[in-house]
């Protein structure tokens, strides 16, 4: 019997998408789910999404939005991909910060930056920061450095909202250490086995060229990984009372 687990990320207060994705995971008989954070932001139901994650006791690490909301910052400090995203992001922050309950803020504050299971490491952005983007085309050296220095074989991340699986094979790191005034460098090189970065994309705010929510399923035994794109095109409608005071922070809600 194989042991599969699902990884979700960037839920962004989109309750309908979260419910649809979790139902899809349940239907596959997958019991272990890990969440890579960003429960809030953009979408209209931050408290409901936080409470859903709490009810289901899903191990979750802290995302950049989760961190900034509890720190009282008026915007996520990450660079936005466009003027539109920046303006929506600022509005969503103000709106969500006023509405997230104190109890839920305490929960967000309690989330760890990383989760680890054996040689699997789960982070929101990178092992260094919730705000760092591990983009699929970043240099192989930098990517390998992030995985290796965190002591992981497979690094699960989100943040970019674009799912991908990147294999880093035949890597080596050469380190040269030069002490003050001493020009006799000591140099060490090590060859590394294959490392992987798996980005789960986004459940609540996909940006991979389609409106489908994404998550990944990973088989602990074989290492097989699949990116699941799940259509959430017929979500439950947002309550009219919510529509009235909700600023347009995300399309279609």
């Amino acid at each position: 019997m194989t042991m599969s687990h699902a990884v979700i990320s960037c839920l962004h207060a989109n309750l309908a998408a979260c419910e649809a994705v979790l139902a899809d995971i349940d239907q596959q008989g997958i019991d272990t789910i890990t969440c890579l954070g960003d429960l809030v932001g953009y979408g209209p139901q931050p408290n409901e999404v936080i409470e859903l994650v709490r009810e289901r006791s899903i191990p979750t690490c802290q995302g950049c939005w989760d961190e900034d909301i509890i720190d009282g910052l008026n915007a996520c400090e990450c660079s936005y991909p466009s003027q539109l995203a920046e303006r929506r992001g600022h509005r969503a922050h103000h709106w969500a910060a006023e509405r997230i309950t104190e109890d839920n803020k305490v929960f967000l504050a309690s989330l760890p930056m990383t989760l680890r299971r054996d040689r699997l490491l789960f982070v929101h952005g990178s092992p260094n920061s919730q705000h760092e983007y591990l983009l699929p085309d970043m240099s192989a050296f930098a990517a390998l450095e992030r995985v290796e220095t965190a002591g992981a074989e497979t690094l699960f991340c989100g943040h970019t909202h674009q799912p991908y699986v990147r294999e880093l094979s035949e890597g080596s790191i050469r380190v040269s250490v030069q002490t003050n005034g001493n020009h006799n460098d000591s140099e060490q090189a090590m060859t590394l086995p294959m490392r992987r970065i798996i980005n789960a994309g986004s459940v609540g705010e996909p940006r991979h060229g389609s409106t489908k929510a994404t998550y990944v399923v990973h088989d602990d035994d074989s290492g097989a990984v699949s990116v699941v794109k799940w259509s959430t095109t017929s979500p439950k409608p947002v309550k009219p009372s919510l529509r009235r005071d909700y600023p347009r922070c995300s399309p279609g809600v």
Partner: protein, 260 residues
């Protein structure tokens, strides 16, 4: 000799593309005229904002647009005149008798009488892949003259627009200005897999707001104009931000000229 053809068809069936291809194949002088079609119960016409005419004139600079050149003296008589009309239903009969009376009245103003009338979905020499039978259609448009888009925001907005964030959009067409002076024809039809983003040949210098046709026309059902407007406003550049985009481009152009 002048060939005057009336080309009709429902929204998004490929009228303008077919007309452009016909002009490019034609050896002689070409002229174009876009007329308004009739509205029917529940079927609103897409606003004639000059998008088609601007696009065709960009692609074929010597093209005569009869709407703007009708009163001017013409050095040579047009050889191929194509008249475009959005028309939801095929004509009841072929030939001049089948022409919509409202279109006939407009033709009289220009003293024109088509010698051929072709309808998409009816005449086999026209492509028919994108001919859809619309039952209900709302139309919305916004003049964007002088407006300049943040490019990444335009990409997001267009993606949302054609993926149902603001209602069921069946057809969207626009000319959009970029900060670097380019303009793009953005073209979407529900029957197509993806949108077209076609740059115009004419590029304005990156110095302020361009004074040329820029417009968005959307057709569909249960459209959300307030939502579209709100997002557009978040995508358009202010004067200060536009200058931030354009100043480095001007510097680069000056440097190239100095070195060249």
């Amino acid at each position: 000799m002048q060939n005057t053809w009336l080309i009709t068809g429902p929204p998004g069936c490929g009228k303008t593309t077919w007309i452009r291809d016909s002009f490019l194949k034609h050896q002689g002088t070409c002229a174009y005229l876009r007329l308004s079609g009739s509205e029917q119960d529940g079927l609103q016409q897409g606003h004639n904002a000059g998008i088609d005419s601007t696009w065709l004139q960009d692609q074929i600079p010597e093209l005569l647009d009869l709407r703007t050149t009708a009163g001017a003296p013409r050095p040579t008589a047009p050889r191929l005149l194509l008249i475009e009309v959005q028309q939801f239903q095929p004509p009841t009969s072929s030939g001049p008798d089948g022409i919509d009376p409202q279109v006939l009245r407009q033709l009289e103003v220009f003293n024109l009488r088509p010698d051929r009338s072709l309808h998409f979905g009816l005449d086999p020499e026209l492509p028919h892949e994108d001919v859809l039978d619309f039952k209900r259609l709302e139309s919305w448009h916004r003049n964007l003259q002088g407006c300049v888009w943040d490019p990444n925001s335009l990409s997001s907005f267009w993606f949302e627009l054609v993926n149902g964030a603001y209602g069921d959009v069946y057809r969207a067409k626009a000319l959009m200005n970029m900060p670097d002076g380019r303009s793009f024809l953005c073209n979407w039809m529900v029957s197509q897999q993806s949108s077209q983003f076609l740059p115009l040949e004419a590029v304005e210098p990156p110095a302020g707001r361009p004074n040329r046709t820029s417009h968005l026309v959307v057709q569909g059902r249960a459209l959300d104009p307030a939502g579209i407007e709100s997002t557009i406003d978040d995508c358009l550049l202010t004067d200060d931000v536009l200058e931030l985009h354009q100043a480095p481009l001007r510097d680069r152009q000056h440097a190239l000229q100095s070195n060249g």
